[in-house]
């Protein structure tokens, strides 16, 4: 298992629409996550802007197009560029998703679920190790929201645990995704936490989505404040393990008043700092 990662605190997903909030309220934002592909092959002036951000905040690249779950190896050109980007901004780690986004012939452009078998998990673990070695920084793998629930031999939690068995990477646990998946597919999110190696969780994503009504599926939109259910999951997670970093994600319905986002950032930070205990054993955080 990988060593414990640096504590970053409460961060915000950086989007162009949030540049003003980031500039004006830097003191309430501990770190930033950027979408890797926004900068990966970007022209130099955009990379310079990223460098300026990295001079003010720890910045973590979060990818959506590595497609580690596709057959074959991760694209070498992509990987080389990713390593250069991570090095350029001295990122403490980088992350992407446990999914596939393309096959040889089709680019889905979204995070698609994998066939959850032990063979696929073993292969993913091997590739994750290789990616981490190639980039030279800790690699975090994130659980996705999925709407197609393939009738696979392993549950999602079992699959993630199996992948982690075969690599020394960390987990980026998206609690909004966990909440949505649990409601859409009818499983217990606490049971999910029982199965995955929570001690490998190095970062948490927090976001609000769209609740399904009248039997419709709930959707992961990153378009609302973090709901109470997700905060409760964070409390539950933190009662089981210490987590170095949380991140508020917002991709649409950007609020005119940043108070909502800032309140969520403050709330997450307070949670991280609050000593929690389970079964009478303190988790060791100050």
């Amino acid at each position: 298992m990988g060593s414990r990662l640096r504590e970053l605190g409460s961060g915000l997903g950086y989007r162009a629409e949030l540049a003003g909030v980031v500039g004006e309220h830097a003191g309430r934002i501990d770190w930033l996550e950027v979408i890797t592909e926004h900068y990966l092959f970007a022209p130099a002036d955009l990379r310079e802007e990223l460098g300026e951000l990295a001079g003010r905040f720890p910045v973590v690249p979060h990818g959506v197009e590595m497609s580690i779950g596709s057959a074959g190896e991760v694209d070498g050109v992509y990987l080389d560029a990713l390593a250069a980007l991570v090095d350029e901004i001295d990122a403490p780690w980088f992350s992407d998703h446990l999914c596939f986004t393309r096959t040889e012939d089709v680019l889905l452009g979204l995070l698609a679920p994998l066939p959850r078998t032990r063979d696929v998990a073993r292969e993913l673990g091997r590739k994750a190790r290789r990616v981490q070695d190639a980039v030279g920084r800790p690699f975090l793998l994130e659980n996705i929201t999925y709407y197609v629930d393939l009738a696979t031999p392993l549950t999602e939690a079992q699959f993630i645990a199996e992948v982690m068995e075969h690599c020394d990477c960390h987990l980026l646990l998206d609690l909004a995704n966990l909440d949505i998946n649990a409601r859409n597919h009818g499983f217990d999110p606490l049971g999910f936490l029982d199965v995955i190696p929570v001690e490998r969780v190095a970062q948490v994503h927090l976001a609000g989505g769209i609740d399904g009504v009248a039997g419709e599926m709930s959707l992961d939109s990153h378009g609302a404040a973090v709901p109470e259910r997700v905060w409760e999951l964070l409390d539950e997670l933190l009662s089981r393990t210490a987590v170095p970093a949380t991140l508020i994600e917002r991709d649409q319905n950007f609020p005119d008043d940043p108070a909502e986002l800032l309140a969520d950032l403050d709330r997450a930070r307070a949670r991280l700092r609050r000593p929690l205990a389970r079964d009478g054993v303190a988790d060791g955080r100050a």
Binding site: E37, L40, F41, A42, P43, A44, D45, L46, E65, G69, S70, A71, D75, V77, Y78, A81, F100, R102, T103, E104, D105, V106, L107, L108, G109, L110, A112, P113, L114, P115, Y146, Y147, V148, D149, L150, A151, T152, N184, M217, L219
Partner: protein
């Protein structure tokens, strides 16, 4: 092939989704699935496929909107069925290497609407694509940085060095005046040459309407002639042509090939001739 390929098919092709519902054995054959692999797909509730198929289209819409915001807005307002048709019919193809962040989908949309919408909107879409392509062009940005970092260029039509158009510049011609603003579908029918110039930072691209003489002059700045030869080749009033060339050099639209850009560019510029996009 296997589950991932079959799932991708079901999410992007109506025919495959119908096959999963009505003739799973055919889907199994098409994708070479084992019985266990087919069971993974067949055992998944159909609602999830429908939601994800919508998300595939939504992601495509978001991608093209990020490249062509004004064109997509006009299509949404005036041609919603056409736009929906594009989203439904387009299966995105993986682009290797840097293509992962490329503009393939936007190029497809521009090609798709050609002949299906007014010539004005079609022209505008090409204009918007040309602007975004220059914005994301790393070589153009490098040329813009070189222009920012170096002092004023030597001018004088008698200067040394072969001339070529900067990598930060594109010239395009349209049948409509895409520079006037207003509704993209109602642009005035007026043959228009536009010089797009990549700057450093914001705004990334500025557009200038230019005359036929400038376009003709720029076409001769192809790296094979020095200033005197360009002026001679252009014909017409040599004094006026030399003065125009001076202005283009001063604005760093045209560079001497012994200049600063050559140190950061090894590939010959492909932008010395205007592209006809109207």
């Amino acid at each position: 092939m296997g589950v991932r390929e079959a799932l991708s098919g079901v999410l992007t092709r109506a025919e495959d989704l119908a096959m999963l519902r009505e003739n799973p054995a055919a889907l199994r054959r098409r994708y070479g699935l084992t019985e266990a692999e087919l069971a993974m797909l067949a055992g998944a509730p159909l609602t999830g496929f429908h939601v994800t198929r919508q998300n595939v289209r939504r992601k495509l819409a978001r991608k093209i909107t990020s490249y062509l915001p004004a064109t997509v807005a006009e299509l949404e307002a005036s041609h919603p069925a056409l736009l929906a048709g594009f989203l439904a019919a387009t299966v995105r193809r993986p682009q290797p290497g840097e293509g992962v962040t490329g503009s393939w989908e936007a190029e497809r949309l521009v090609a798709w609407i050609d002949g299906r919408v007014s010539a004005s909107l079609s022209d505008f879409a090409r204009y918007e694509l040309a602007r975004v392509s220059l914005t994301t062009d790393r070589r153009a940005a490098g040329a813009a940085r070189a222009a920012r970092d170096t002092g004023p260029p030597d001018t004088g039509a008698g200067g040394a060095g072969r001339l070529r158009v900067s990598a930060a510049v594109r010239v395009a011609v349209f049948d409509h005046d895409v520079t006037v603003g207003g509704p993209p579908g109602l642009l005035p029918l007026r043959y228009t040459s536009v010089l797009l110039k990549r700057g450093w930072g914001t705004p990334a691209v500025r557009a200038f309407r230019v005359g036929e003489g400038t376009v003709s002059l720029l076409a001769r700045c192809d790296g094979s002639r020095d200033a005197a030869q360009v002026v001679a080749a252009a014909g017409g009033d040599r004094g006026q042509t030399a003065a125009m060339l001076d202005r283009l050099i001063a604005a760093r639209v045209v560079l001497a090939t012994t200049g600063e850009e050559d140190r950061c560019e090894s590939v010959r510029s492909s932008n010395t001739h205007p592209s006809r996009v109207g």
